[in-house]
Amino acid sequence: MTSSARTSGWISARQGQCLSLAEIPVIPSEGLADHLISARRRQGRLANLFGRRMNDGEVMLYAFVANDNEGEVYVCSSRLTRTNARPLQYQAITSHWPAAQAFEREIAEQYGVHPVGHPWLKPLRYHATDDGTPAPWGMFDPKKPIPGDYPFYRVEGEEVHEVAVGPVHAGVIEPGHFRFQCHGEEVLHLEIALGYQHRGAEPLLLHRNATRSAIVAETIAGDASIGHALAYCTALESLAGATLSMRTHAIRGIALELERLANHVGDLGALCNDVAFLPGASFLGRLRGEFLNLTLEICGNRFGRNLLRPGGVLFDIPKDLADRLRSRLEGLQYEVLQVLNMMFEQSSVLARFEGAGVLSEEQAEEIGLVGPAARASGCMRDVRHDFPHGVFRFSHIPIAMETTGDVYARAAVRWLEVQRSIEFLLELLGNIPDGITCKPLGPLCPNSMAFGLSETWRGEAMHVAFTDDNGKLAFVKAKDPSMHNWFGLALALRGAAISDFPLCNKSFNLSYAGHDL
């Protein structure tokens, strides 16, 4: 491993690199919290933290700390061993680094591991542990399957009231439960209880039918199919040591940016709707579909299903199609920017956006926020820039940044990204490099681990894949950016008016399915 410089107790890795499991440093579980916290001090961002059940019943924890400036991901592990009859445990990281909160709850829920000292130890998705042992909060009771049955944090006092919303909402959206502690209009605290969408996606990523696994990766969060498929494919291709053609990378990049455009444009329209600016809402609502239709032209599905597969892409973009897409995109560029420029000059829109749902840079760093929401709070991070892979190694998209951390900033970042993604696409569609678009994946390297990162329109998705002695895929961990960002939405609501909730929620527009897996 020439490319991986060791700092003590960590191994640094890049996308595309296949790590032998034996190379990953193992930290004693007593020292894990301190080890991670010292990495945080060196400008680390917690990109992932998860557990894996080993054959002997013990649990390995894997931590991924990203250094966005250096473009390195540092990996370490820790083995939790059973002493006497005590449940597996370790010192919680969350108490010193809140970014770990959801990840440690996930570990506790999946394996019955106790992160000792976790300040917010509650179920995350409501399911039994893998071996049927009790989670730290008790035994899972399948007769009580409602995630709404949850120990909510409560504010008490005269005139304090509680508002409960969900899981079935008013709109056509995914289920989740929001519990507000309010004093009049003011939200003192919002707690978000999810788990309704838990489908058991991760085990299906190991399905014996490879097409099935790839489709499950695409449906972890259906509006980020390309983003997740890209991270999944990258992880598997890295294990196989596969080299893809530039043409494949270009087509993947085109699909990823089209996905971003559809979602950003649609959400900006939905934001208009939430502030009752209906011209913006109706124009952008339609224009979102135009971008989906471009993806449909490429692969026969509006959400990009079946385009990416480990080893390449299943659909080529021949010259005539590229020209057609390009000319349609030019028309859309004019239309979309006309509407967005109009939208961002309406004082009625700006007055509602500005100062709503503020998340400071400090808060964003503390909780490990990613994606446009993080960039809106002044955190400079974008996988396409920091960990460039595929086409992004050659074509650079400038990072869109704002600093105010409010709904305006989150909308403005997306406005900028819309412009830059269109420019990127117009250039790329004009000269797609040559190459073979798909070749079968060779054997995977045994006893290894590799990961794929992608900047979905919501932020960083990460898939980590492990192989066994025989080079068979043994474990895949998927992370949607929502795993980081739901906490951000809860914090942004503190002190805000409850009537601003729909607006704030839309400005993040997080994935329930991606979180619940």
Binding site: H127, P142, A170, Y196, H198, R199, T219, A221, G300, N301
Partner: protein, 257 residues
């Protein structure tokens, strides 16, 4: 204000002419598959083996269950004889689960709801959507019908906030264990007579999540379903076509191709 008006004029009229005219879908769009069992070599099971959801069966002749089909390309790519092909026919909705099983013959598309239902809810259908584990794609392409491009309300169909105001449910997702209770409560809250629409492969059969211990394999294990709209996710045209058949609002001319 002037800027808004200028933009409004530039945007123009954008509502689809469907169902009066049939839109042309791109060549690569994967609509209703067409199967030709006569091309199958003796003993060949390549498509059946390739299918990620066991939608294809060869026992008793080649058949393809559209309720399980994810409209991927695994079978088409696996078949050396070209016995399975996708067409751009977007009409897929059926009234009965068994009608989704495609053989050599034609698909028996959805019929108008029964007369006694039609009299009560047929001319102004109000739906409460329940997402019970969908990846969000089915929900998004349902939502699309409310945009100016489709203008669903011109057909008297509307999505409402409360199940108390609804005539039925439109359900997406494989019905996760954690949403089962909320789905049942929502169904109970809808006044009778009520209908249920299963939208997408997950709601019909569990889709890519079929047989996961965390899900029920679709809605009809727990509730009676009146309309099945297959796809992963179905195209908005497929959804609208299904809904219009269900309320008997599809002009006859549109149905002949």
């Amino acid at each position: 204000m002037l800027r808004i008006l200028r933009t409004r004029i530039a945007q123009g009229h954008r509502t689809t002419t469907f169902p009066l005219e049939l839109p042309v879908l791109p060549e690569r769009y994967r609509g209703r598959p067409k199967i030709d069992a006569s091309k199958c070599p003796e003993g060949c099971r390549l498509c059946e083996e390739a299918c990620p959801t066991q939608a294809i069966s060869l026992s008793g002749g080649l058949s393809l269950d559209l309720g399980k089909c994810l409209f991927c390309t695994a079978c088409v790519d696996a078949c050396p004889e070209g016995a399975i092909k996708y067409t751009t026919d977007f009409r897929l909705a059926t009234s009965q689960r068994k009608d989704l099983v495609l053989t050599d013959g034609d698909l028996k598309l959805a019929e108008r709801m029964r007369d006694e239902l039609y009299r009560v809810i047929g001319r102004a259908l109000r739906l409460r959507e329940v997402c019970a584990g969908s990846c969000n794609a089915c929900d998004l392409d349902t939502n699309v019908l409310n945009t100016v491009g489709w203008d669903l309300s011109r057909f008297g169909i509307q999505f409402v906030a409360s199940p108390r105001h609804a005539d039925g449910l439109l359900v997406t997702g494989p019905i996760t264990r954690n949403m089962h209770h909320a789905l049942m409560e929502t169904y109970e809250a809808v006044p009778k007579p009520k209908i249920v629409i299963a939208l997408g492969a997950c709601a019909i059969s569990g889709g890519p999540f079929a047989d996961s211990p965390q899900v029920n394999n679709g809605v009809d294990a727990t509730l009676p379903v009146d309309l099945y709209i297959p796809g992963c996710p179905p195209h908005p045209l497929t959804i609208l076509d299904g809904l219009l058949r269900f309320i008997g609002r599809l002009p006859r001319a549109t149905d002949e191709r």
